[in-house]
């Protein structure tokens, strides 16, 4: 009898090294400052989805607390998506207080400066008394691009590459997934006293499944041949990475799981969304974004840093089309509630890990071969940080 599972061990995995990983980057404020400047202010960050801007005039605001930045994202009358720093160019007042809405102009409450949703200063009371031209007072642009319906921003005024170049081969794969057509989503959010990498790592290794999710996660992800639920394949794409999740051919499912997912499968079939060659692929886009290809639980998870030891997670299950009937509504509600049950179980143990690291008791931590995605994240982060430090050292020498 053939084994149902064969572990993914390859030269590519071993080539990432076996050395212990320094613990400091997982709690030290200095390292976090380097990460912020080297990575989070320079890489493409997923912050929204086009379904939040369904028509011209729609807008959303996103707070990036790690950078003290508020971003206004709009869809203008031409249908283009634009992003700006959410600051009035008069004296810096935060322009838009609402989290979302529909408006073609934005007026600062302080002195009435009014901007279009394409960022132009339209009017300013008593403008003739200023010593600057209106066209020099447009809202400051933030780079924004879209892939697979996902809206990414880049805080670098001159991004080093386009989003498509940044995502490389993964861009085309993402475009094949339901998220590219999504029109709505379920969402839950959490705050966690943990470094963003520590929180993120939890969700890119399966070693913990049998200990932390013995009830909620055991049905499809683990089995007698694969008691730890290890993936069948890993791939590395520069700073990004994927795993292909193993599927237990004989999953243990509760009666309501069967009912709910059975209903979802029926409607996904009708929508032509059930089958995808990437349905079992779990994407980890650098630095802080996940997406699971599975259409019945097609969730994204962004772990946004707040400071060195605090982060916020945003989890969304994306859906294509409004609920077509009661069964689809039931299936979507159950799918969201079940994913929430699983994610609920992770938070406390991640915070416990952070407390241990904060003590400074450990100089290093250890990743086994099946935690290679965590090792790859650290390598990617540290490479960017060291390059940034070297760049600054050169600038320091030159000045």
């Amino acid at each position: 009898m053939q084994p149902q599972f064969e572990q993914a061990e390859s030269d590519a995995i071993l080539a990432l090294g076996t050395e212990p990983i320094p613990a400091g980057p997982y709690y030290q404020p200095q390292y976090f400052e380097w990460e912020r400047d080297a990575i989070f202010r320079r890489r493409w960050l997923q912050v929204a989805h086009v379904c939040e801007l369904p028509e011209p005039g729609a807008f959303i605001v996103r707070e990036l607390e790690f950078a003290n930045v508020s971003i206004l994202i709009t869809r203008n009358k031409e249908g283009s998506i634009r992003a700006f720093h959410n600051v009035c160019t008069h004296r810096g007042t935060q322009l838009v207080a609402d989290a979302c809405g529909k408006r073609s102009t934005f007026t600062c409450r302080y002195h009435g400066w009014t901007f279009s949703n394409s960022g132009e200063l339209r009017s300013a009371p008593d403008m003739q008394r200023f010593y600057v031209k209106p066209h020099d007072c447009n809202l400051p642009n933030v780079a924004v691009e879209v892939c697979a319906g996902l809206i990414f921003v880049n805080l670098d005024p001159s991004p080093q590459c386009s989003l498509k170049e940044y995502l490389g081969a993964l861009a085309d794969q993402l475009e094949t997934l339901p998220i590219a057509k999504a029109t709505t989503f379920s969402e839950y959010v959490y705050e966690i006293d943990a470094n963003w990498k520590l929180a993120y790592d939890n969700f890119q290794e399966n070693y913990h499944l049998r200990f932390i999710h013995p009830r909620s996660g055991g049905g499809g992800a683990v089995g007698p041949d694969n008691p730890f639920g290890y993936p069948i394949r890993y791939h590395f794409y520069g700073e990004h990475r994927t795993q292909t999740i193993w599927t237990n051919p004989n999953p243990i499912m509760s009666s309501t799981q069967k009912l709910a997912f059975g209903k979802l499968i029926e409607t996904l079939k009708q929508r032509g969304l059930l089958h995808s060659e990437h349905a079992r692929d779990y994407y980890a886009l650098f630095p802080n974004f996940f997406l699971l290809g599975t259409p019945t639980q097609h969730f994204s998870h962004t772990v946004m840093p707040i400071n060195a030891q605090k982060s916020r997670g945003v989890i969304r299950l994306y859906w294509v089309g409004d609920d077509m009937n009661a069964s689809e509504r039931f299936g979507r509600e159950f799918s969201m509630a079940m994913a929430r049950d699983v994610h609920s179980e992770d938070r406390a143990v991640i915070e416990a890990g952070q407390k241990g690291l904060n003590s400074g008791a450990l100089t290093h931590i250890h990743f086994q071969s099946q935690e290679v995605l965590c090792r790859h994240l650290f390598h990617s982060v540290d490479r960017a940080v060291q390059a940034y430090k070297a760049e600054n050292a050169l600038i320091g020498k030159a000045s």
């Binding site: 709505t184 989503f185 379920s186 969402e187 839950y188 959010v189 959490y190 705050e191 966690i192 009830r215 909620s216 509760s254 009666s255 309501t256 799981q257 009912l259 709910a260 209903k263 989890i315 859906w319 409004d322 609920d323 009937n325 009661a326 069964s327 509504r329 039931f330 979507r332 509600e333 159950f334 969201m336 509630a337 079940m338 929430r340 049950d341 994610h343 609920s344 179980e345 938070r347 406390a348």
Partner: protein, 114 residues
């Protein structure tokens, strides 16, 4: 309105659960699960489990926008059942401990609420 016509014909057994479990939003449904005790969850689950396939089949005969009041109540009960089934079938005796972790995962949007 009497208790007799709270729900469509055939689902009268669920009438006693309407007041607590037939609520409007995913946040409220999660809250009902959160604040209920094991006995009340078990009573709702036991009464609803075998009726759920028929309830969905009945509700599927109409557009969601065309559901009448009693059908809407049944829809809301089905959505709360999605939450309570996780407590009864998956979390079981760990539900009260799980509830303390789950409260940190704050639901902000669900398609059923839009």
């Amino acid at each position: 309105m009497t208790e007799m016509n709270l729900l469509p014909v055939g689902f009268e057994a669920l009438n006693p659960f309407v007041e607590f479990w037939a609520v409007d939003t995913a946040v409220k449904r999660a809250q009902c699960r959160q604040i209920s005790d094991q006995k009340s969850r078990a009573q709702f689950y036991d009464a609803a489990k075998n009726l759920m396939p028929d309830a969905l089949a009945l509700l599927d005969t109409k557009s969601l926008h065309a559901l009448n009041d009693s059908e809407l109540r049944l829809m809301k009960l089905a959505l709360s059942f999605a939450h309570v089934a996780l407590a009864v079938e998956l979390q079981r005796e760990e539900e009260s401990k799980h509830a303390k972790d789950r409260v940190h995962m704050k639901i902000t949007q669900a398609p059923a609420d839009l």
